[in-house]
């Protein structure tokens, strides 16, 4: 086992060296921007195609279930999705289980609306072209409620406007009325949405998650409970690539490549060191 004092000092030194190397690997690529070629992953393509095939005026229920701490991974996804919706005239209806992200979601809507104005000359108005419904407590109960009665769960939206009679919500009042449900989640909400929402209503479901929970989505994806998903910053980059609007996702890919290579080299180096020690019979350690 570990712990003699010398080992701990070496351990601390190694740790800090790794920190510095990682910091450099992330900072340096910021100043370079070579063209990065990559093919979007199939999971992401199916989400993109689903939205791209929608008609103007179709509604998509989006749950932005994250907060500022996961901003780096999920905010680019939100932006890409919102831009895509605004471009196609699809109406995103945004709900959340995480109140702490609300300020971010408002910002995302405003930014995407400005982009729509500058890129396609579309004027995006809250309540008509999108609905930011905001937060309600209750976790699974919120989903159970939305599954049947969205306007009952949200009598008013985030801007205190009544949802009944709202243009953006015309013709939708339960989950099955939506063409698609997308959950951008930093936690376990995807599974809640599947179990208590889309599996019951039959609405197609997609998700975007932080990279840590993306591997857990494969069973749902392969069983058809989900049409596709975006995992981590790479998922966002793929979507941006499909949408042809490069932003933070694609911009981060070089740093991502660099840091991954560094970590792989560190790990392989350490292994080579270990095997070399074994082979040449170092007595210490």
């Amino acid at each position: 086992m570990r712990t003699p004092e010398i080992n701990r000092k070496r351990f601390e030194l190694a740790r800090r060296c790794v920190y510095v190397v990682i910091a450099l690997a992330v900072i340096i690529p910021y100043f370079f921007n070579p063209k990065q070629e990559f093919k979007p992953m199939a999971e992401v393509v199916s989400v993109y195609e689903k939205i791209d095939a929608m008609k103007p005026g179709d509604q998509v229920l989006m749950a932005f279930d994250y907060d500022p701490s996961s901003e780096a991974e999920l905010y680019p996804m939100s932006m890409a999705l919102l831009r895509h919706c605004f471009k196609k005239g699809v109406i995103p209806v945004i709900v959340t289980h995480w109140f702490a992200g609300l300020g971010l979601f408002e910002k995302a809507c405003n930014e995407a609306a400005e982009d729509a104005n500058s890129m396609w000359g579309k004027k995006i108005v809250s309540g008509r072209d999108y609905a930011l419904l905001g937060f309600r407590p209750g976790w699974t109960d919120l989903i159970v409620k939305i599954e049947r009665d969205l306007k009952g769960a949200y009598e008013t939206d985030y801007f205190k406007q009544p949802t009944r009679g709202m243009k953006a919500l015309e013709g939708v009042n339960s989950l099955e009325d939506f063409e698609l449900m997308i959950d951008l989640a930093a936690g376990a909400t995807v599974e809640f949405w599947i179990a208590y929402g889309t599996d019951k209503s039959g609405t197609p479901m997609a998700a975007g998650t932080t990279a840590v929970s993306a591997p857990d989505l494969y069973p749902f994806y392969k069983s058809g409970q989900m049409i596709g998903f975006m995992g981590g910053l790479r998922g966002a980059a793929d979507y941006e690539k499909l949408l042809k609007i490069p932003d933070r996702g694609e911009r981060g890919m070089l740093a991502q490549s660099a840091a991954h290579i560094i970590i792989i080299l560190l790990v392989l180096g350490a292994n080579v060191h270990m095997f070399a020690k074994r082979l040449f019979g170092n007595k210490r350690d």
């Binding site: 086992m1 701490s69 108005v125 306007k151 009598e155 209503s201 840590v212 929970s213 857990d216």
Partner: protein, 535 residues
């Protein structure tokens, strides 16, 4: 030669027209079809005659397993289905309405999705379902309810007549209505005219307008409820149906002796979702198994559980902490006391505290949830008492350090660095805090034992801790240590469930693979058993 070319080309153009028609609103369909010439008409008649389904196969019945919304019309797929035909279902309130021409039409274009096999919940999985077409008809979608118009003074008065508004409220609403911004003909992109108009109002008027908007929302809600009630009435009435085939604007109805056949059906409110029968049976069976084994475990305390790696390590770690005269740290992560792994970890805590009390080493418990803290205090105190050292218990050592994920991490990390524990137990529910804690813990040189069912976090524990109780191993460990019947029994029940699943997996794959090779073996029963459905 030319004729046969027409036979090939015609259906293709028809297909294109149908595809176009599907994209356009229904009313425009007629405009898209050109009148057919005489020779084409004769060929079409021949094709249509071929396409008409067998009269006996036409049936209409209540859509099963729903709340009285839909009716199903089904008919057999003609043996030789010509290209380009569309089926039409004509829906009327009574038989007589057909003669009067008062009926609506729903089109079904032939595709695998229109086949009964696309809805196994209603038609099963047998090959026969591939020979049936069906149309799901929701009367309210065909004979839609009257849409309530916008709020007008007249409609407000009607609400007042119904008693929804008191006379004074009516007057107030009428007055507020006049303050509403008039729709301006031009819209400027910068500020909406509504916003501009509102700037001119006095604060009192503004308040009235806001009140009116709340009222309008409330009245819209009542309208919605009214429409819902109307939809229910429309759906629950009996309806008559005729079936026809359509080709390029020509329609031929399914007839008997020259008389179009009319079938009738009425939607009924059902009381059980038969498609979920498998779910009900499985849920009840599994529940019964769990409850039964809990009873068994209560009577026979010695239910077998296999040894779990990492359990001996608990004693070893405590022993080592004692040797080095360092404290033992324990955290539950971020779960509340209702979370399964927290309950399990509380049992392990009890054991650890008992051991630590025996060895005379200190235990620090750090929590993120006030209720978990209270329960932990009780448990540690009891463990100290059982070990015969009630005086050594210090309630300050079991404490709430923060109730927010990242500040909790910071507080616990700080203590780890400062107090240098000999052993660290991380057992419970973990999120992103898992690696933050275990990596800091590793830097202190303590033995770390983790246990969680938060699967996303397991990779980090596995890499940074000395031992990790993965998933259900945590429950098993806690049952093993505490001999608690409710845990032992339900663990055994879960094992039965797992055995069942393993058998189904292996047998299922063998059977389905065999069925794919043998023609006509549809395995309807097995699919019905496994397919999850919500109807």
């Amino acid at each position: 030669m030319r004729k046969s070319a027409a036979v090939i080309v015609k259906p293709l153009t028809t297909l294109a027209v149908i595809a176009l028609a599907a994209m356009l609103p229904a009313g425009r369909v007629a405009a898209q079809t050109r009148p057919a010439t005489t020779t084409q008409a004769t060929t079409q008649r021949a094709i249509l005659a071929e396409a008409i389904p067998v009269a006996e196969s036409l049936r209409a019945f209540d859509l099963p397993n729903d709340g009285g919304k839909g009716i199903i019309v089904q008919w057999a797929k003609p043996a030789d289905e010509p290209n380009g035909v569309t089926y039409i279902v004509q829906i009327a309130r009574t038989k007589a309405d057909f003669q009067a021409g008062k009926f609506e039409t729903q089109e079904v274009s032939p595709s695998p999705k229109a086949l009964a096999s696309a809805k196994p919940a209603y038609f099963g999985y047998s090959d026969d379902a591939n020979k049936l077409y069906y149309a799901e008809i929701v009367p309210a979608a065909v004979f839609g309810p009257a849409k309530p118009g916008p709020l007008t003074p007249e409609r407000l008065k009607k609400f007042a007549d119904k008693g929804v508004l008191t006379p004074s409220e009516l007057d107030r609403a009428l007055a507020a209505m006049k303050l509403l911004p008039q729709p301006a003909p031009t819209t400027k992109p910068t500020t909406s005219p509504a916003a501009k108009e509102q700037h001119k109002l006095t604060p009192a008027q503004q308040a009235e307008l806001e009140w009116y908007q709340v009222l309008a929302a409330y009245l819209t809600k009542l309208d919605g409820e009214h429409v819902d009630a109307e939809i229910d009435t429309i759906n629950s009435a009996p309806y008559s149906f005729r079936l026809g085939v359509k080709l390029d604007g020509q329609v031929a109805l399914v007839s008997h002796d020259g008389e179009p056949i009319v079938v009738e059906a009425q939607a009924v409110v059902n009381l059980f979702k038969w498609g979920k029968l498998n779910n009900l049976i499985l849920s009840l069976a599994f529940s019964a198994v769990v409850v039964a084994f809990i009873q068994v475990a209560k009577r026979k305390p010695g239910l077998f559980i296999r040894k779990i790696a990492g359990l001996e390590a608990i004693d070893e770690a405590i022993g080592r902490a004692t040797e080095m005269d360092r404290p033992v740290f324990f955290t539950h992560g971020s779960g509340s006391v209702t979370a399964l792994p927290v309950i399990a970890s509380l049992n392990i805590l009890s054991r650890i505290a008992y051991r630590a009390a025996e060895h005379d080493s200190r235990v620090r418990v750090m929590n993120q949830d006030p209720i978990t803290t209270a329960v932990s205090q009780e448990i540690v105190q009891q463990a100290y008492t059982e070990a015969g050292r009630p005086d050594a218990y210090n309630p300050d050592e079991v404490s709430l350090v923060a109730s927010d994920q990242f500040s909790y991490v910071a507080a616990v990390s700080g203590r780890m660095v400062r107090e240098e524990p000999g052993a660290i137990f991380l057992m419970g529910t973990f999120g992103a805090d898992s690696l933050l804690l275990s990596e800091t813990g590793a830097s202190t040189g303590a033995i770390q034992i983790a246990g969680t069912d938060s699967y996303t976090q397991l990779p980090f524990f596995v890499t940074t801790c000395d031992y990790t109780l993965m998933g259900e191993e945590l429950y098993a460990a806690s049952a093993y240590l505490s001999r608690e019947p409710r845990l032992l029994g339900s663990l055994r029940g879960q094992d039965v469930g797992k055995a069942f699943i393993m058998i189904v997996l292996v047998l299922g794959i063998i059977l389905f693979t065999a069925a794919a090779a043998v023609k006509g073996w549809d395995l309807d029963w097995l699919r019905r058993l496994l397919e999850a459905s919500n109807a």
